[in-house]
Symmetry: C2
């Protein structure tokens, strides 16, 4: 269990104090960051101060850092030499993912690790050097799973979960919300692996039963990954026609590796002229109904479907703000259109939403809601 | 100066202990998060425990929370009632931006604030309730500015800054890097405002002199905001044609409020068919040179310029990975095209890059590099 997480200023003595405090409180301490090449990277010095052991050059690390730069076709800048320093007597942990090696040493009865702060280096180093030592001999197994839901607020999700959220329950269930996605975290804490696994699974199933179609994924999966799985399975190909989301939906679906298998492409029809010339939305329709209207959302989705040759298309048109709102169409108003090829015909529908918050929040919610409409549509279809 | 930042588990006693520790260490403590409506929100209870004062219902807060939900056209879920509880004797701080009010109380010689963790609520509450009390009477003024640079690594930036980064300098200058943007943070610490301001300004100028065109903005500005300012000033209108960045560039530029003034729109030409049918890239060119080639990047930029009626167009085509790489075009290879209308002609050029890292990193770097090419082009133009 994580006792606490503490961030300190770029100050050698403050860092050293935090290391001593943590080592006194926990048998395992992980320091991240401050191993960079610049003068405000002070973790190495602070660690050396705590250990009362001078920094010495570790020649194999220096060779490795030089080789890393060479592989990028560059000379090692002189500043990076400092990354090969390590407190005498401490263990150097090879960094296969970047320049600064990790450092491990005992501080009193605690084992202290220092890793680079860059997530793509820190995460694999944690997995390689720390995780295997955690797995055995503690007499306690903690397994966790997080389910992600979209389409309802945190209070609604919590009240749907009811008794499952009792604080004295094991596995314990908690909710958090971030960017309109409600995450349900399940933590199973047992003396043995098998019991922890079984209980986790049963609770996970119970949560899914209570939340039904709201749950789209687990353990950090994004909503576009759920959509990707469905499209792959169904063999349908997607196109997008975005106005207020300005490419956000296309970016989200192309976040997924292999998206070229089911994503044809899309339009960012920001100017009305482009809605007309590229997607065939009649100028008279825009003039009469406004660009933010059911008719235009439908016409954009149909246009994208027709011009791309895809099987299903999403369209958005709305007022992301902060300007451009009116009494009839206030900031946050978004029409989302969905067109799908049927047998010899095209089914088109559009829904209107009003999202609260800033421009970024409106756009984020609009894109996720569009992808969720697609997800629900594909669930019904299959 | 921030002494430290500490994150604790959703546990009432651990939270209470962290509050006591912080109040003993600093005259001002800010708690964030854990004021939500669910059972794992425990800051209120922990605060009450530290104060040895029971939680009591604060009727005006309850009325305000009900009204907040009503303004969204919804009933207040019963769970949210708990957000109107406050330790007896503590001060309730009205939350104009969400549901949970803040709480202020003395703990020993320290003033402790509890705010919601949602940034859009926390930030304005900090500004309203804490900042005015910090501004006077300390005998010390700290001003900061952060300059953002793109196009060189952290070591290169640091060595260009040279003496400016000495740790005994005031203002002190430090660098951090995040998603390939190097940020240079300047911190000016003087007894008086005017001296702090003058020194900050002088150091900021010195940093800009050393880094030249690498600096695109300051204090959290994004590269697309720099581009937006230039386009607005020059009166030029932009279009995009994206393959490997899949809508990311369009999303970035439409992040900026008012982008409809200078962004016409764009294409996400993911499938080769769409590159051909929508942007007029010859099928024979794709067959002969490959979709990831100088010729296709140039043709995409030209096509976007022609079909959109914009003055300047960006195009990307590359191998974002993890699959699709080859010996000649490994993962990370990206061609970026730029087309600009001149007097009676169109100037087109393309550059090839090879970005390291994951799919997300390659896409992020490609989009920022494209926007930076545009920025440098517009600097030369004006």
């Amino acid at each position: 269990m994580t006792l606490y997480h503490k961030t300190v200023a770029d100050d050698e003595e403050a860092t050293a104090r935090a290391v001593r405090e943590a080592a006194a409180a926990a048998p395992l301490v992980i320091l991240t960051g401050g191993l960079g090449p610049t003068d405000d990277d002070l973790t190495r010095q602070a660690f050396s101060r705590v250990l009362r052991s001078p920094l010495v050059l570790h020649a194999p690390s220096l060779a490795r850092i030089r080789a890393f730069f060479r592989s990028l076709g560059r000379e090692m800048p002189p500043a990076n030499q400092v990354q090969a320093l390590c407190p005498r007597g401490a263990t150097v942990l090879v960094n296969f993912w970047g320049t600064a090696p990790g450092i491990r040493a005992r501080v009193g009865r605690s084992t202290v690790y220092a890793f680079p702060g860059v997530p793509k280096e820190m995460a694999p180093m944690y997995e390689r050097y720390v995780l295997p030592r955690l797995a055995h001999g503690t007499g306690r197994v903690i397994l966790t799973e997080t389910l992600h839901a979209f389409g309802a607020g945190e209070s609604t999700v919590a009240s749907a979960l009811g008794e499952l959220m009792r604080r004295d329950r094991n596995p314990i269930v908690g909710t958090t919300v971030s960017d309109s996605i409600v995450s349900v975290r399940i933590r199973s804490d047992f003396p043995e692996y098998e019991a922890a696994r079984r209980a986790l699974r049963a609770t996970s199933r119970a949560v899914r039963r209570k939340l039904g179609g709201l749950v789209f994924g687990k353990n950090g999966q994004a909503i576009q990954e759920a959509v990707a799985r469905q499209l792959k399975r169904s063999g349908l190909r997607l196109a997008t026609a975005e106005s207020c989301t300005g490419g956000l939906i296309a970016r989200m679906v192309t976040d997924v590796a292999g998206s070229s298998g089911w994503f044809v492409g899309g339009w960012v029809a920001y100017a009305n002229d482009l809605k007309r010339s590229e997607l065939g939305v009649p100028a008279t329709m825009i003039a009469r109904k406004g660009a933010v209207s059911e008719e235009v959302a439908r016409a954009m989705a149909e246009g994208a479907l027709r011009k791309s040759g895809a099987d299903i298309a999403l369209a958005t048109t709305g007022v992301a703000g902060p300007g451009g709102g009116s009494a009839a169409k206030p900031v946050g108003t978004v029409w989302i259109g969905l067109a799908r090829k049927g047998k010899g015909s095209v089914a088109v529908r559009a829904e209107c939403f009003r999202f609260p918050g800033t421009r970024a929040m409106v756009r984020d919610r609009a894109a996720k809601t569009a992808l969720n409409m697609l997800r629900m549509d594909l669930i019904r279809l299959c």
